[in-house]
Each structure stands twice: as C-alpha cells, then as structure tokens.
Symmetry: C2
C-alpha cells in the first residue's frame, strides 16, 4: 500500500462524503436556520440531522447560536471554515447540472 496519496485531501473527502453533509452545507449556504427548518428542508430524520450537526460543530464547520428568548431560539449557521466550502458545493452543483440527466433523477423519485 502506497503511503497516503494526499492526507489532507483524504481527510477533507472523508468529512464531505459523510452521508447528508453535502446537503446540510447546501441548505446552510442559504443562511442561518433553526433545527425545525432544516428538518423540513432535508429528507433525513431528526436524530440523524442532530448527529451530523454535532459532528460539523466539532469539526468547526457549523456554529450554534442560542438566543435567550422565550421559548429559547437555537440557530445553526456556517462558520468561516464552513462558508469556505461554498466553492466546492458550487462546483458540484455545476457538474450536476451539466452531467446528471433528468432520467437519472426521475428514476430515483
């Protein structure tokens, strides 16, 4: 086995490739969101969404803002490190628009 090809790239790939991380980034690039908003935006369970947000928080990609209102309001947003992934998400979107056919998508629905 060759010594790691590019350790930093591998680590970034591992993170971005985690199921639903791409979609969560896609959603948060629209701006800060409450948990319930993300839950209704995304086709994943609340528990899994909460796990992924904790992971992304630990990785410094997402930050959680607690507003001491009544009831308390919690908002998730991308940190600087998170927003820096926007070009990656944009390039994936460009590629998808150019190369993923309607049939490939309809078959899935």
């Amino acid at each position: 086995m060759e010594q790691q090809l590019c350790p930093r790239f591998e680590k970034a790939m591992e993170l971005i490739s985690k199921r639903w991380v791409g979609l969560i980034l896609f959603d948060l690039l629209e701006g800060p969101k409450r948990f319930s908003e993300m839950e209704s935006d995304l086709p994943i369970s609340g528990r899994l969404l909460s796990d992924r947000l904790k992971l992304l928080e630990k990785e410094g990609i997402v930050q959680r803002q607690i507003y001491s209102e009544f009831p308390v309001r919690v908002e998730y947003s991308l940190s600087e490190k998170g927003r820096a992934l926007e070009p990656v998400i944009k390039e994936i979107q460009n590629w998808a628009d150019a190369y993923i056919t309607r049939e490939e998508v309809e078959v899935k629905e």
Copy 2:
C-alpha cells in the same frame, strides 16, 4: 419530509461521496493509469478498487482502454464527464490545504 432539495445535486453528491471515489478521481486526474499503478497509489484493496472502477465506468466517469499487446494492457482514464469533476477536486484540495491542520492528519497516521 420536504420534497427533494435539489435532486441533481443529491445524485452527484451520492456518487462523489462513495468511499474512495474522490481519491480515485484525484489519482486519475494525473492521467491514464493501469490497475496495478492505481492499486499501489491508493490505500484500498484490489477488490474494492475494481468495484469502484466498474461503478465509475457504468456512470460514464471512467473509461477502460484495452491494448492488444502481449501481455494485454488495460488502462483506465477519465472520460469527459470525469474530467469535468476536476474543479470539484481542486476546490476540495484548496479547502483541505487551508483548513485541515497537520495535527488532524498526523493523528490519523
């Protein structure tokens, strides 16, 4: 559950997020390679590499060229659709260089 956020983006994300696809693209962006070269470049088993290459062939991202020499030579390369992923890989590399710390990588080794 909200209707799919962006079906094409989701399908692209699903494909790129498959374990080792990012690294295989990274490797093939250097140019056509034989199976044995890829096997020694990448930290994955031959069987898994073969599975991933079959998937990428089916998706039209990788193409296989057979040279009728003796012994026969088989080379893998990126198709046009595959090469069009270069900006995605480049942006991931840029992000990784800027935001993945040395410690995060050393801890893994």
